[in-house]
Subunit: 461 residues, 2 copies
């Protein structure tokens, strides 16, 4: 807590100060992610001015954590040579992402200032699909050959290390970069200097392929508790690694995307920041689902219309329409949440569909009976001052509404839990069976149940 | 994909085979997390039989990934000495979790079989709050002293390493375990053998305190891209570490809890598995919110009742009640999702409340106008065959309903985005402003807006 307060106080001080220079010695000792956080609050001009007071390696680390807009401002306003030096110190995955966003012309403007190695690296990495393993991998990894001794391997890592951030796993390759296995740095220092790498390398390893979806890669890093996962191309050549911190980022982004989809928001391709996003973009993110569902609710109007005569006769029924649809919607989206969560945590698969339906039937039955009873009481309370139709007592009406509620809750539970399974069965993403969609759908079925039950009890019995 | 298929095929084969023995050589070469996955599918008896065919260190690693129920079965059915040997090979955090769940009597039964070191470790770790840094930390870390040389430090790590899983960060402490800083294993091998640790140690480091909430710990690991974070007690002594894989687990668990809370489910304390949970437990997880909201919707009944006379006069208004409440609910929970997501990703804080309200007002205005227009069209379509009141044309009614919809969507956007901020301002968890709660709340305000607008246009104008 107090650390965060300290950073915030420092941030305030810097933002209010006319000159940032006196703060540089403090900032230089702080983690670059915190420096980035503070500098990002400044105007672009001030940020640039401050950034130039850092060493190029620090500049690279700081700029890693800034958004594309700010990076692009630096690209346009810095001396090309200075920018290139900073760029070379950025994380290989991040700088490839930046490069990908540039226009062809801008790319060609930047390339001549880069060293041959970085130039090739950037061109190579930026050629992959952004959401594939290739698109997120970094090339900061260390390699050794199978016939080296531990001492030779450590020596090679020492020489390579300044530019290789991730040296905890050292990848064993042949002359063509075909991956043979890996050794951990721990294993390397645990064995005697003369031990051959071929004797200690781990040949059974988990890897990703360049075109693998980023979510699948992140799940592997998580499942096998890896610090990094190697990425292989079609010829089994090692082309990159995805580190654990990248995996966390991806899992978080995917979780946000899932929630958004589930709540009927249209996820945007680019990373969005609430305040930076324009009103128009917020609008377009939300309107599609809202409008589709509003259009869909034309059906609820038609249903009510069909039963207009009954409503005119038994006016009191109107009072409980909102209760019926609201409770159904809540029940349905709860059930959908439970099933989608269980699916995404891998607790259930489509194979379990019968078990799920059976369990939800029983849960739905219990919920339906409880809420039916509650509704009975509600109706009696509200209806006390209302005019009941001549032929029926208030208790009879309350019973009818209660029974309709029981059926509505039971069916909403089944629809809410079944719809995600159904969408998944069709090969879709179960989160598309979104909460607003279920709510609207259950509204419609709920009105049918309500008026259907009423018809039976008031017309036929 | 094909790897997962392979595992599944192997799983099938093992489950169908009368004897698991022939598969052991294959299983012994696989990652223990996969072995755990396969063995967990067996009956408890068969699992125990299979487990005994592995080495104790493998047993420990496999049992790490089984659930408490299964671990408890092993505890009850294995020879105490065998169990203790396996237990000593488990991850220190996991075995402390297991120990914490045992009864006092069972704990006393287990302790004598453990070595002094493990015994003390288990008693110590299990004494912390389960959801604090102390409760999730592991004691598998390596330490060196400040006055050692790099060569001496590497030698110490080599000696300690077999029992220390995480040696990529090596913590520098004094004789009382007070933390002085840390060195990475990379830094250690990069410097010459004679370099003193005091010259290369990193003195500015991020740490957690033993009583810190687990979510806060996980966020630090994420923010600073750490492989592990040290945990210090009140006297600045190093008592444990929390590793990156533990941090991923926590973030995932917290994300699930957030979704559950947001959808009006009462999260249970214990880890729950969809199929293992009893119907009763599923029921109790859902009924609280449903019943409260159903009780709350008594108000929507009362509102409709107040306007019964108007409804009897302008019957056509009944048709659009469901449309009004459904669209309002969808709009409100969308807006809440957007704000809660932005809050949890740290894109906005309470300080930005005015900016948020201003942005949402504009978005709500646009959404309201669009949906109002759509509603106008809807009403004309549905109302074509309906009886309109004598004094008004269908177009007049459509205009009134459309205006009501515009106001409803605008206000639902403000309520949906404002409620999470308000709850947070009161010191609560913004996710409590849950989607069903907002839906039900907006239903009620929506009916007021609907009938209020209708009253103005049909009675006064």
């Amino acid at each position: 807590m107090s650390e965060i307060d300290e950073i915030n106080t420092l941030k305030e001080d810097i933002l209010q100060a006319p000159d940032i220079k006196p703060f540089i010695p403090i900032l230089q000792k702080m983690p670059t992610v915190e420096v980035a956080e503070i500098l990002w609050e400044l105007t672009d001009d001030k940020l640039l001015e401050a950034l130039l007071l850092f060493r190029p390696d620090q500049q690279g680390a700081i700029v890693n954590d800034l958004g594309f807009e700010t990076q692009y401002f630096l690209f346009q306003n810095m001396n090309r040579r200075q920018f290139a030096e900073m760029f070379e110190n950025m994380d290989s995955a991040t700088r490839a992402d930046f490069y990908r966003e540039l226009s062809k012309k801008e790319q060609i403007n930047l390339l001549p200032y880069l060293t041959k190695k970085v130039r090739e690296d950037v061109i190579h990495l930026s050629s992959y699909e952004p959401e594939s393993a290739g698109g997120i991998m970094s090339t900061d990894f260390a390699t050794v050959l199978e016939n080296m001794t531990c001492a030779q391997a450590i020596e090679k890592v020492r020489q390579d290390a300044p530019s290789k951030k991730m040296v905890y796993y050292i990848y064993v390759v042949d002359e063509d970069m075909v991956m043979k296995g890996f050794v951990t740095l721990k294993r390397l220092i645990m064995h005697s200097a003369e031990t051959k790498i071929s004797e200690i390398l781990i040949r059974e390893y988990v890897y990703a392929t360049v075109d693998e979806d980023q979510e699948s890669v992140a799940l592997k890093v998580d499942k096998y508790d890896l610090v990094a996962i190697p990425v292989l191309n079609d010829e089994s050549r090692l082309v990159g690694i995805v580190t654990h911190d990248e995996a966390i980022e991806i899992m978080r982004a995917e979780a946000t995307e899932d929630i958004e989809k589930f709540m009927g928001l249209t996820p945007s391709d680019e990373e969005a920041d609430y305040l930076d996003d324009s009103v128009k973009r917020h609008y377009s993110k939300r309107i599609i689902w809202l409008a589709s569902l509003a259009a869909l609710s034309i059906f609820s109007g038609i249903i009510v219309q069909r039963f207009e005569d009954m409503l005119a006769q038994v006016m009191i029924l109107t009072l409980f329409m909102p209760m019926m649809t609201a409770t159904g919607g809540n029940t349905g989206s709860q059930a959908a949440t439970v099933v989608i969560t269980a699916l995404s945590l891998g607790q259930v698969t489509l194979k379990n569909w019968l078990q799920i339906v059976f369990k939800e039937s029983r849960v739905g039955m219990l919920l339906g009976l409880s809420l039916g009873l509650l509704t009975y009481v509600n109706v009696v309370i509200i209806g006390w001052n209302s005019t009941t139709p001549e032929d029926y007592t208030l208790f009879y009406v309350a019973m009818v509404v209660g029974i309709a509620m029981t059926i509505q809750v039971f069916s909403a539970t089944l629809i809410g839990s079944g719809l995600p399974l159904f969408v998944k069965r069709l090969g879709g993403d179960p989160t598309v069976a979104a909460s607003p969609a279920i709510t609207t759908f259950v509204d419609i079925t709920g009105l049918l149940i309500y008026f259907g039950t009423a018809t039976i009890f008031f017309t036929f019995i």
